[in-house]
Amino acid sequence: MLRMTLAGVNHKKTPIEIREKLAYPKDHLNQVIRNLSAQEGVLECLVLSTCNRVEIITITTGNNPDPVFFLDFLKTTHPALSQINIAPYLYHLTGEEAVRHFFEVTASLDSMVVGEPQITGQVKEAYERAKSLGHTGLFLNQLFQRAISASKRVRTETAISHLPVSISYAACQLARKIFQTMGDKNVLLLGGGDMAQLTARHMKKMAVRSLTLMTRDASKGMALAREYEAIYRSFDEIEDCLSESDMIVCSTGAENYIVTPELAEHALAKRGRRSMFLIDIAVPRNIDPAVGRIGNVFLYNVDDLKAVVEANQKEREFEAHAAGVIIQEEIHSFARWQENRSSVPLIQALRKHTETIRQAEMERFQGTLATLPPEAREKIEIMTKSLLNKILHPAFQTIRHSPGSEELCEWTMKCYGLPESALDTPTEDTPRDRSADSAPIPFLKGESPA
């Protein structure tokens, strides 16, 4: 009997001081996986190590490895941890709960920032690493494929990934609420700070009509303008630039207001009172707050953008509930696959047993058969095989339609005289095939850990 176990620590329960000690350096991971797979009963394994979590997945025969197994393993692979008691931080999941957790992690529902896309890539990387070392089999392959599929569904069927959770993206989100399209909009960046550069990158992605950069330091401004394919203009032209710009991002180091209500009012009048969207991410602020009170002018500062991010975080968490339905569907789909797989060992054993009988009978009549022409012998060979298939077909159908039925399994074995050991015999030696032909992890049947 195969069992899946997942154990680890994550950002929810474990402080950063412990997490940073438990995270495996990338160049150690291959050795860690080798060590894990060398443990008794471990057929397949996967290690996920990021700044927010360290998780170990094992597929084993017999009982689930207990938490002590994982604690010991973590201590062995982190000698410096021997002085720290990590038991209170460790979670240990088996069966359906382990599958659910893995699906949720892959779909970024368990992340610190729910919906962030990096974790899916990290899971892929962890899987590829284990696969390249030959420590994944049919079970983990299938689990990974379905986790990725669940993750894609969550991203496409819910709005979880459409709510920005970074300040610069939040500015773009607000821009989309004011302007229908950015393709015909002029964007002005006042100042060349990090935030302005980040915004410039997003604006390029949004394919704005023009990007204008304005800095006090002309040489730096021109260099940045070249980098972001923007137009450089000096601060003396601010009045004209304001009236030509639909969106203005301000992040200079100036200690006074650069954009005053008079300047904004003048610019608005000059542009026929078409809406202006101003973002002031400078501290101290560069745009007079009174500008925000002018009609058709929308002004936001860095705190406002943080409020957008917080609201989006909450919305994402709400979206995660809808994603739970998708995860549940994928778990059921995985369980069905498991159940279907459960009929394979019995069918294989039955086929092998009857084939042995057929061959023995053919052997018994070898003397008689030898007198026949080769064509006749071949026809008899075909006929006996066909006969066997036709007799066994209804039995195979019944087994396939009742996956996991222990009663049917017992009856079939008794009826056909199959030995007890018939189901345990692996067809090949690799972990991959052993897990493929073994019985499923009955995680929907409430299997408890050892």
Partner: protein, 295 residues
Amino acid sequence: MQRTEGWVIPSERVQYLEVPLSSFEILLIKITAGFYFGAFVLLLGDLLFSRVKHGSLVGVTAGVGGVLVHTLALFIHFTSMGHIALATLREAISFFSWSLVISFLYLEHQRKGSVLGLLIFPVSFGGLLFVLGSGVKAGPVKEGAGSLLVMLHSILIDLGLASATIAFFLSILYILLETLLRRKIFNTLFNRLPSLEFLDRLNREFNGLGFLFLTLGLVFVIIWSYGTSGTLWPWGQRGSWAFLVWFLYLGIVLLRLKKGFQGRQAAYLSIVGFLLFVVTILAVNLFVGGGHSVL
């Protein structure tokens, strides 16, 4: 026969315009009302509870179902009357409800903006309740009701009112979104609303469309009036109100085009225009009376 011979349905076919609805028509209108109400509930449920990306699709589909049944009901009614019958308030409101939902589905096709459906479906549903409530009374023939010119007039005024209603709803959504943006309230409703620019552009388009329908509607009724009575100004208070609304819409269009009115100012203008339109219709139909019943 009247003077505009050839443009008039024979009088015996329009002897009793306000005939009771047949039981089949009532059934179809009830089904349509059910669809419209269902669409509203589904869209509201989607806004409040669902976080599924295309959750509004079910509500929109209910709207499509409703409009198909409604189209069948209108077709059966017009067939039974022998012409496009919009002469009574009941008929006009049914057609108006249908026009609103059609406009919503068109906008939904252009850009997913199901929030507008939350305003449109209750109005259309309410319109159908009125139709069902007034569907059993018979009334006398109305002057000019069978004339092609009056029919065109009724259709165009109905479509004009539908456009003004949509512009009114778009204005409300504009003011709502602008308020949320100014007060920095970033909730679910905020996330579901389309951009200010989009709302403003649609507002301008629907006001322009409304003005066009209203103008053509009045032109047709003037031609009909001249043809029947030889006068261009036959309706007294009714005509005065109608031209007041027309001038107001002309003002809206000119302020938009010439003075660059947009955003909140344009939204307020649009709301005033719509309210005056509705007041005119109610005043004309309920208090003023007149030679013909044209919505």
